[in-house]
């Protein structure tokens, strides 16, 4: 049985010298450790990491990342940790009131404001851990093949700063009201504000929130064309955290004039930084975007790889290796005398519309004029997206393969108009087969697009579009089931017939080795290609 024993004397540790702040630091360390072990914090951390693991390993959607977009996308996931921090810190802040120790602890040496200060400092390790996670995530993405761009330190720091804001706000809330329910209610309000901000990605007032979401359905832009006042926003968040912290200290009883001044200054700073953030994008940026859209050659760098020239915005130039893999996979079945010696691939951005209903048609004529001026007439367009990790990436990959194959087969670059984009007959079958077999993943990219389409015509591409009929797609995919070398050899041998305008789809399929019966009279008369 346990007993009360005689105490040993004169073995006690002397308290710290008064006024050194050592007590606050010691308490901050303890509270910090408790915060990092708190189920709410740990749960949110695990959820965030699980999302990344799912995205990267299970869904495989983190290939070909654009790092100056990913630094921003990381923020929204880190908000989970901010939420966990908020709940855990709030519970810690109201712990003395909740557990009835408040009156007792008043008799101890550390004053309420010192305990509040320790709790505020305890948020720092959580923010630091969040920063490490953000760094690890972006580092992992940067190590992925095809990573483009470079992350902004200010964007990466916004996630940890949001954790700081959440933690300091939780301390303040815990000092204002002792209600346990106040935490989840406040968190729900913050979540609503964040979701509303995300619903209006073109509104400048969204910068008043913890993070500012962009239109994530739009393909990436070069970093110089983004309007992201990330540095100012980081300053805004840090000042907001400082304002919450000083308000919490005041509320906890530290009435020093310096604290009042600091609170006033930080609040003023929050207001100024918020107003600066919320300013619309400057006109110069809109002009730069328009120039990059209409005449991209001015800001691009070109590189020659084999017979081809690839021109891209500098941050994306490394992607030319992926484009070359596709184009070379197509050109290997093209007879030498049928090749254009000046094939060029040029990267384009797509128009940014501030409404989902807005006009986003590519300025094909302007591009043709830009290519003419740059001496790259007939260049095949490629976008800023790539890979097999998302629908956008698959559409971009399949779209480029189709566009390049169409350029090789027809001798013309792909267009975007309803009629210009339509490919018929043998050209259509050959183009689709060339695109599908070009590189690992291109057939899957085409299949993905088909699975998400309906109607008689299916369009491929994110920048320019090649449209084909379902019947041609069926033939092309039957050909893709045959050995590529056999079909490719036949393609080379019958290139002139296959690329002739009047060769029918069935004829082309037979030339390529497919056993296709003659179509009865009237077959396909309702198709878009039938008048020909």
């Amino acid at each position: 049985m346990s007993t009360i024993q005689q105490p040993e004397r004169a073995r006690t540790a002397p308290p710290a010298p008064p006024g050194t702040g050592a007590g606050v630091r010691a308490l901050a360390l303890t509270e910090g450790r408790r915060l990092l072990r708190h189920p709410a914090f740990l749960g949110s951390l695990l959820l965030c990491v699980a999302l990344w693991v799912y995205e990267s390993v299970v869904a495989g959607s983190s290939g070909f990342p654009v790092l100056h977009d990913e630094d921003r996308l990381v923020q929204s996931q880190l908000l989970l940790i901010a939420a966990g921090t908020f709940l855990a810190v709030h519970l810690a802040a109201i712990r003395p009131a909740r557990d009835g120790t408040e009156g007792w602890f008043l008799s101890l040496v550390l004053l309420p404001w010192q305990r509040a200060a320790a709790l505020l400092l305890a948020v720092l390790p959580a923010a630091l851990l969040t920063a490490v996670l953000a760094g690890a995530r972006i580092g992992w993405l940067a190590a992925q093949p095809g990573a483009a761009g470079s992350p902004s330190p200010a964007e990466l720091a916004a996630g940890p700063a949001a954790v700081l804001v959440a933690g300091t706000l939780a301390v303040l809330l815990g000092l204002i009201t002792r209600s346990v329910a106040a935490g989840p209610i406040a968190l729900a309000c913050l979540a609503i504000v964040t979701v509303v901000g995300a619903l209006f990605p073109f509104e400048s007032w969204r910068w008043w929130g913890l993070i500012a979401v962009e239109d994530e359905l739009h393909a990436a832009l070069p970093s110089g064309l983004l309007h992201r006042p990330a540095g100012q926003h980081l300053l805004y968040l840090l000042l907001l955290a400082l304002a919450c912290a000083t308000a919490a200290l005041l509320r906890a009883g530290l009435k020093a004039a310096s604290v009042r001044v600091l609170l006033a200054v930080s609040l003023a700073g929050v207001a100024v930084a918020g107003v600066l953030n919320a300013r619309p994008a400057p006109d110069s940026l809109a002009a730069a975007r328009q120039r990059a859209l209409d005449a991209p050659s001015e800001g691009q760098t070109c590189v020659k790889e084999g017979e081809l020239t690839y021109c891209a915005f500098p941050e994306f130039l490394d992607r030319h290796k992926e484009w070359a893999r596709v184009s070379e996979g197509i050109l290997r079945w093209v007879p030498g005398d049928a090749r254009d010696p000046r094939y060029t691939v040029r990267q384009h951005i797509t128009p940014v519309s501030e409404s989902s209903l807005g006009q986003t048609t590519a300025p094909i004529d302007a591009w043709a004029e830009d290519d003419r001026k740059a001496g790259t007439s007939g260049a095949v367009a490629v976008g800023t997206a790539w890979g097999d990790g998302s629908d956008l990436g698959r559409d971009a990959t399949g779209g480029f393969a189709t566009a390049f194959a169409a350029r090789v087969v027809t001798g013309e670059p792909a267009r975007s108009g309803p009629q210009d984009a339509l490919l018929c007959g043998g050209r259509s079958v050959l183009t689709l087969w060339l695109a599908g077999q070009a590189a690992p993943g291109t057939a899957e990219a085409l299949r993905s697009r088909i699975d998400r389409s309906f109607g008689g015509l299916i369009g491929f591409g994110t920048v320019t579009t090649v449209e084909t009929e379902q019947s041609d797609i069926d033939l092309a995919f039957r050909l893709l089931n045959l050995p590529a070398a056999d079909v490719g050899a036949k393609a080379k041998a019958h290139w002139a017939e296959l690329t002739a305008k009047d060769t029918s789809s069935a004829e082309a399929a037979r030339l390529l080795g497919l056993d296709v019966p003659e179509q009865p009279d009237g077959y396909g008369k309702d198709s878009m290609c039938s008048p020909r």
């Binding site: 007993t3 710290a16 602890f105």
Partner: protein, 316 residues
Amino acid sequence: MNPETTTEAAPVPSAAAGEAMVQVTGLTVRYRRTVALDGVTLSLGTGVTGLLGPNGAGKTTLLRALATVLVPSDGSLSVFGRDPLEPRSRQEIRRRLGYLPQAPGFHRHFTAFEFVDYVAILKEHTDRAARHEEVRRVLDAVGLSEVRGKKLKALSGGMRQRVALASALIGDPELLILDEPTVGLDPEQRLRFRELVAELGEGRTVLLSTHQTEDVSALCHRVVVLAAGRVRYDGSARGLGELADGRVWFSPEREPRAVAGWRTGTGLFRNIGAPPPGAQTADATLEDGYLLLNSAAESGMWPEPEAGTRPEGGTR
């Protein structure tokens, strides 16, 4: 005798010797219209002093004022020669003070070790290794070494009370203020607790507020009785018992003139008050004296004994 007069039964060490750790003069605490303490004056030196009084007497208010948690409405208070109203002095007092409140409250998700360690940090014990050694020491002192890794929510009420006591012992405080510390302890734990407090009382000041007169009898060299916010008795424990000398008697029936009485195991009634002529008086205990004092405070006058039965022990 005027019941509001402080009585002094026997010489009290330390306080009387002019080495008072605590000096209270005319201390008054008001909560709106209620006067919780009404001009309390006393001094405390080394040793264990018991604080008795009925519910609402002002015991906890006095302890909270001594623990620097409560600001008095009037009067003066000096602890270790310092004024707790002065912030720096108050912090210095708190460094040398151990306070176990009546309902201490616990962080249920902390282990016993974590909780005492947390309190140690709030007492500014900042060196981690030394602090942990100190936490182990006080947990060992209250016999909780075996369960120091258990969460408080898993411990019994008695064990939690010992955790609170261990927390009060952090830093070997010179002044220990214990507000009903034996609540929830079983008899054996109470016995051990007495041994601990007796040991603690050697060389430091312990103020023990309790309803357990046996604890006071066993531990305290001095007793202060509060009633209605005033000191009704301040003297030796023996002297408090002596107040009832000649005022305790047995009778076969309940005595209407007794201020307190109960049927004992023998079937006889033990009565406290002014005995009838010829009554056979019994030896008085501290509890008898305390009950007599309380009833006097309630009635506003002393129960005068019949001629020949006046107690000799109590002085007024």
